[in-house]
Symmetry: C2
Subunit: 502 residues, 2 copies
């Protein structure tokens, strides 16, 4: 009856497992690989990627997919089988719409453009990077045309990271909150109750940081029998099946905020991966719904939980015990204020909860304008700096700290940035639903009891893997379409209290 579906699933399981092996190559590269191995590692990744791509776009996949679609024609549209086939169809059509020549050309240009960017950033030489970016934009436009779109060229790109999300949706949500965020930032800057975060910048012995971060990740519910934590220069979470989830963090012996919040953030990602339904694991449903939904999980644990007053009351005594020299004379309230310092800054990856989204909005606007030609590459630095001034009240003195700071465009990751902000918005909406359904959530967090929260996320988000597209998943979990309202409310309420705003 479902013979073709079974054979398709067998084929996809092989492909998915090989994709996980590819993830391991990336994890190793960022954690333990010796420097001299970079060239060979490039060949390993390329050989494996080519194989995976070839297996996936092979005619046999298409044949089995069509046959399986026919077999399940009358099945429950909400069944796993039908949903799985929809996900496979989506990916298959996307992958096969791109001509092999264009894929190779993009791949070659990515490697070159990355190196050009590295040098340009070091030498503050935007003019040297501009031709590479021009070419990347051309290639990206060609890619978008092959993939197809209805309303906006950006839709074809965004869809890769946030399925079915449109440029217009993002633009509307961002427009809804931008004025309020700009105002909030200005109000905070003018506050008469400024935050002193100096207690985070003291001596924090690395071994104690390692121990306490592992403990806090475990308390959230991360299963260290099915995962671990290592170190990486740019912390990330990687997964080679739901039973092998690798967190990474980074230790700064003079700043606690780095490792602490990197761990809480990556643990949020890791809990999602560990929580996908076991039977989905080797199937095409066995991964996250989207980058935005993934980011909602990291942000929820890092910020909505980890930067709450309740969590600080829970965690501070542990931290005080781990770092008696640095925190012996401090209070959990001082700690809470310190980890919620808001300060307009030039660099996205160092931004706080309030300013972070504005960094993303800036990039989103510029990406859209560059793609449509409304903005020329040569005018990019000037426009960047002008909008930084308008949104943040500060502007970079160099392009290195400005338009050259992120690797994304150099690597052709255009349409990716919004997922970071969407993660924040989704986390706010989920948190709103959680508070409505679990009125005791704050008390639970204060008591260090996270099981019910994790259970809620498991039941409403994690377990589904890719079964539902993000919009549907969010609607099912919260009873509403995605809205920026709750995240904005969360920010304004929280920071009005901290900064004593009218």
């Amino acid at each position: 009856m479902t013979e073709n579906l079974e054979r398709l699933n067998g084929r996809l399981a092989q492909i998915k497992r090989l994709g996980e092996v590819s993830e391991l190559l990336g994890w190793d590269q960022q954690t333990y690989m010796p420097e001299g191995a970079a060239a060979a590692r490039g060949e390993h990744s390329a050989a494996l990627s080519r194989l995976i791509h070839d297996m996936f776009v092979d005619g046999e996949t298409a044949r089995l997919l069509s046959a399986a679609e026919a077999e399940t024609a009358g099945a429950d549209p909400d069944s796993d089988d039908v949903r799985l086939l929809a996900a496979v169809r989506r990916d298959y059509d996307r992958e096969t719409r791109l001509p092999a020549d264009l894929v190779s050309e993009i791949s070659r240009h990515q490697a070159i453009s990355h190196n050009v960017w590295v040098r340009a950033r070091q030498e503050n030489d935007f003019a040297g990077f501009a031709p590479s970016l021009e070419k990347m934009l051309d290639l990206t436009r060609r890619r978008a045309e092959c993939l197809g779109y209805e309303a906006h060229i950006y839709d074809a790109l965004l869809d890769a990271y946030e399925p079915s999300m449109r440029q217009a949706d993002v633009a509307r949500m961002f427009a809804d909150i931008k004025p309020a965020l700009v105002k909030l930032i200005a109000d905070i800057a003018a506050s008469v109750r400024p935050v002193d975060a100096s207690l985070l910048h003291r001596g924090y012995p690395v071994e104690a940081q390692r121990k306490v971060t592992l403990d806090l990740a475990a308390r959230f519910g991360f299963d260290f029998n099915r995962g671990r934590q290592d170190e990486a220069a740019h912390p990330f979470c990687s997964s080679f099946s739901r039973d092998d989830v690798r967190l990474t963090t980074r230790f700064d012996p003079a700043y606690l905020g780095q490792a602490l919040y990197a761990t809480l953030h990556e643990t949020g990602h890791g809990l999602y991966e560990q929580g996908i339904t076991a039977q989905y694991d080797p199937t095409w449903l066995g991964s996250a719904a989207s980058l935005g939904v993934h980011e909602s999980q990291s942000r929820l644990w890092e910020n909505l939980v980890g930067r709450s007053r309740a969590y600080c009351e829970y965690a501070f005594p542990k931290l005080q015990a781990a770092f008696p020299d640095a925190l012996g004379g401090e209070t959990s309230e001082a700690f809470y204020r310190a980890v919620n310092l808001v300060r307009p800054s030039l660099v996205r990856v160092e931004a706080d909860e309030v300013t972070y989204n504005l960094h993303i909005m800036l990039r989103f606007e510029l990406e859209c304008e560059l793609l449509t030609g409304a903005l020329a590459v040569r005018d990019l630095p000037e426009t960047w700096n002008a909008r930084m001034q308008a949104y943040f009240g500060i502007a970079p003195a160099s392009d290195t700290e400005g338009v050259l700071q992120d690797v994304h465009w150099a690597e052709g990751l255009i349409g990716y940035f919004p997922t970071y902000a969407l993660g924040n918005l989704i986390s706010g909406q989920l948190w709103h639903a959680i508070r409505a359904q679990m009125p005791d959530i704050e008390a639970s967090v204060r008591a260090g009891e996270f099981a019910a929260l994790l259970e809620w996320l498991r039941a409403n988000v994690h377990r589904y893997g890719r079964k539902y597209p993000p919009a549907e998943l969010i609607y099912k979990a919260t009873g509403e379409p995605l809205t920026s309202r709750y995240y904005l409310e969360y920010l304004t309420t929280k920071y009005a209290d901290i900064y004593g705003l009218g």
Copy 2:
């Protein structure tokens, strides 16, 4: 002119790189992988192995190989191209002689048999393991028949690990030295100058062990820009290209010998991998000549160098500085004697230089007899114990410490054991040639100068990769066919001195 050869090399480069990815899966499994990931990792390895096998035995490989052989028909028989094609031909013929059904059956039985062995060893239940071993022997005989051999069924198996080596060669070399080894062991047991190794069994802080082993590996010439050292329960060396060589070691806080000699041993393997000619790296010549030659490198650095009096004079002050509490009152001569303790023991992996080869001989004899049917599986424990008594003067009280101690037979690794002893013999022969050509070698070792030694090994062994079969490589390096003579001389001279024998 060599278009097919180039295409063949391109294809083989992909296959070799994927094989290296497979090595990474194994390395991760033994170093960092969380326990819960075992099942998924099995699927990763299986998916990748299947792919590699399919790519290699594909008709396209055969077509390109035959065409390339024709293209190079008149070329210098010693050229890289001709040698490479010989190596590919050898592997291709071996791989394709085995029917896919037999390969799967062996693979399935390996997994089962391994688990049966684990339980049997725990419960000292040889009878419970016997049927699995019977079946493994049957499958192994079928495998050998498919692979083909002229003189002895064992030849077909040994050839996988030690190309072109025959059962008769091994039997002859072992017969040459067995009586002398048995006598040496008895003489040592009766010595009036026994060795006291207690200084190795003191408190050795792990962090200091880590630091000093890394230093000693680097002093040998291991390039940590192209490799690293991690921890593993059973130390090994793995390589994912000549530019990415991973050593592992194990730290026992109460015994220095474990980490110290595991590191020197694995460094020997690692130096070999790092020393293969760079241009060979992505080609079919870019790996070691054989397991025996590989083991000769580990043994040479671990024993011929690392357990020499000259090396102890060099290393002891460093160790004394690293472990002042444990070694403060000791001398390098006491240290030298301690690391050369000879004591008949039941367990191969704990054996010293003198008794180690006898452990191998025992296994080799039994393997041959089991395969030919001269020995029945049910009689194996009794025969094992009787020969232990005859060779070592001791016999195990349980099969767990006896015939069940090694994993090899359970996994179908029959024909593998001799390579350990061959490694010792080769190391002795190489060392003899080195001493003849570098009369100052002892003084260099005493001074901690290893560059000339490494250069000799690079020039005569490492750089060739798989270009020459082991017998040819050894002849080129030493001017003689492989002989057991030099290793036996080395052992008898060294231990007569240490134990004050006639």
